[in-house]
């Protein structure tokens, strides 16, 4: 039986972190670049053709006078009516609002916890940012505690801010993660695990073993199961599944379990 505690699928925010299955065909003129691999420096949009439209640019693109150029190498994606972004996979994370991430506490101050989320700067988590948080019941997190949090502010040049509750103020699975095992991977793998419909590696693993998983968009994954050998099995299978297709992942999971039975 499969028991899963998964982080919620990501919202489609203005700054484009859409799920992978949303691949729209573009009918606009830069059709030559949509769904193509691009490298930094490629000019993908000519704004002189778009005089009265609003275009929303996601990660990996920047505006250079009248042209939109690529900053990171990856695949250019387009979503109707006007969203463009470059999908790529990195080991570091660029903080975005409304992302659910796994952070590690590095320090605590009087009004903030300092949390490392694998981004360019440490993030602040206010001590009152918990459900029913008051000055009298401030949680005591030791250095090294793993937290499942939500990014609420991610401005350029400032430290990102986090919250341990959802938009309505309820705790809703945010907070410290106890037991289990956390490993780091790339942001691309995290996006694959969070895509909907459920990615095949999780389906395949769920059929064989029961486990709990929390995936952070910053590339950190936490796994918990009844026995340490199950935890290791699930973690290794997920780590190996990054560049495999759905069918290959299924085959890989089957071979992992066969090797385990032989031990």
């Amino acid at each position: 039986m499969q028991h899963e505690k998964r982080s919620l699928t990501r919202n489609c925010t203005i700054w484009c972190r859409s799920q992978r299955h949303m691949e729209e065909k573009a009918s606009a003129s830069p059709a030559s670049f949509i769904s193509q691999a691009v490298v930094p420096g490629d000019v993908v949009l000519d704004l002189t053709n778009f005089s009265n439209h609003t275009i929303k640019l996601g990660g990996g693109l920047y505006q250079n006078c009248d042209a939109i150029s690529v900053m990171k190498s990856g695949e250019l994606k387009f979503s109707k009516p006007n969203k463009y972004w470059v999908e790529s996979s990195q080991k570091r994370y660029v903080p975005c609002v409304e992302d659910h991430v796994l952070g590690i506490v590095v320090d605590s101050r009087s009004d903030n916890f300092l949390v490392d989320i694998k981004g360019p700067a440490l993030a602040f988590l206010p001590v009152l940012a918990f459900e029913g948080g008051t000055r009298r019941n401030i949680p005591k997190f030791e250095v090294g505690t793993l937290l499942y949090v939500r990014v609420v502010k991610a401005n350029v040049g400032m430290n990102p801010e986090l919250l341990c509750m959802d938009a309505s103020g309820k705790a809703a699975e945010f907070g410290p993660l106890k037991d289990g095992y956390m490993f780091e991977s790339s942001t691309g793998l995290a996006q694959m695990l969070l895509g909907s419909p459920t990615c095949s590696i999780l389906v395949a693993l769920g059929k064989k073993v029961s486990f709990e998983i929390a995936v952070g968009l910053n590339g950190r994954v936490w796994v918990n199961a009844e026995s340490p050998s199950n935890i290791i099995l699930v973690s290794n299978a997920i780590m190996r599944s990054e560049n495999l297709s759905g069918v290959q992942q299924q085959i890989m999971v089957d071979s992992c379990f066969r090797e385990f039975k032989d031990l």
Binding site: R20, E23, S29, P30, S32, F33, A37, V39, P40, G41, D42, V43, V44, L45, D46, Y62, D66, A67, S69, M71, K72, S73, G74, E75, S88, S89, Q90, K91, R92, V94, P120, A121, L122, V156, G157, G188, E242, N243, L244, S245, G246
Partner: protein, 241 residues
């Protein structure tokens, strides 16, 4: 008047050595690449962006720090010079205002030196920066051109050839870019973007004509290098299954 130059390894004057590039070679680095041209091989690792800049650096921009590690022996003045050249080159291709008040470290390890070491290092660090996802304006491709005694220009000299050259110049060009912008692809205007030059480091004495000739040859070869780098970067883009 065509002067043929006999090269030790039998290459034509315009022929480059076999290129090889692999990315994500190091587990712990945030981005890494190894680049080899013939027998010269350099491994570059990128860590960052990390919080905080060094003292005296502009906090409104990202800071790039370069560390050059030799194959044998201690680091001395030549290594400091390489670090400075690389730092200036990489600063001009990175978008420094995306992550202000951060430091990105680029560490280069020379695995083998058989001539054209600096261009190999620049190519490796550019590939490593792309692997780490550092925002870049465009890619940089580097090539070295040597001027032989007779005035002829050869590309990508090996170490034996370097010792007999009259002059040597390392050139770094921006990569050639396909774009949807119609004006970019035509050649009207003063300077089409592809003719830009990012860095030029010269050793020895050469005439102005020799230098301009090397620029032309180097620019032509940079198109081949760009195509190779682009193919390499695109082949490792994960495909959605």
């Amino acid at each position: 008047m065509v002067m043929e130059v006999d090269r030790v390894d039998g290459r034509t004057p315009n022929q480059l050595r076999p290129l090889a590039c692999s990315r994500n070679v190091l587990n712990r680095a945030h981005g890494s690449a190894s680049w080899s041209q013939g027998d010269t091989k350099v491994v570059a690792a990128v860590y960052g962006p990390k919080a905080g800049t060094k003292k005296g650096e502009n906090p409104e921009k990202a800071c790039i720090e370069v560390i050059w590690k030799t194959k044998t022996g201690q680091s001395g003045k030549p290594e400091k010079e390489y670090e400075m050249i690389l730092r200036r080159t990489l600063q001009s291709i990175c978008l420094l205002n995306i992550h202000p008040n951060t430091t990105t470290s680029v560490i280069l390890q020379v695995v083998n030196d058989d001539g054209a070491l600096l261009p190999c290092a620049i190519n490796a660090s550019c590939a490593a920066l792309v692997d780490a996802g550092i925002p870049l304006k465009h890619l940089a491709v580097a090539i070295s051109c040597g001027v032989v005694e007779s005035g002829y220009v050869i590309l990508d000299p090996s170490k034996i050839e370097e010792q007999k050259l009259k002059a040597l110049v390392h050139l770094v060009f921006p990569n050639s870019v396909p774009s949807v912008h119609p004006k970019e692809s035509s050649r009207v205007g003063d300077e089409p973007k592809e003719h830009g030059l990012i860095s030029s480091v010269t050793h020895g004495r050469m005439s102005v004509d020799d230098y301009l000739h090397s620029l032309e040859r180097g620019h032509a070869a940079s198109a081949k290098l760009s195509a190779f780098l682009r193919k390499n970067l695109q082949s490792q883009v994960p495909s959605n299954a």
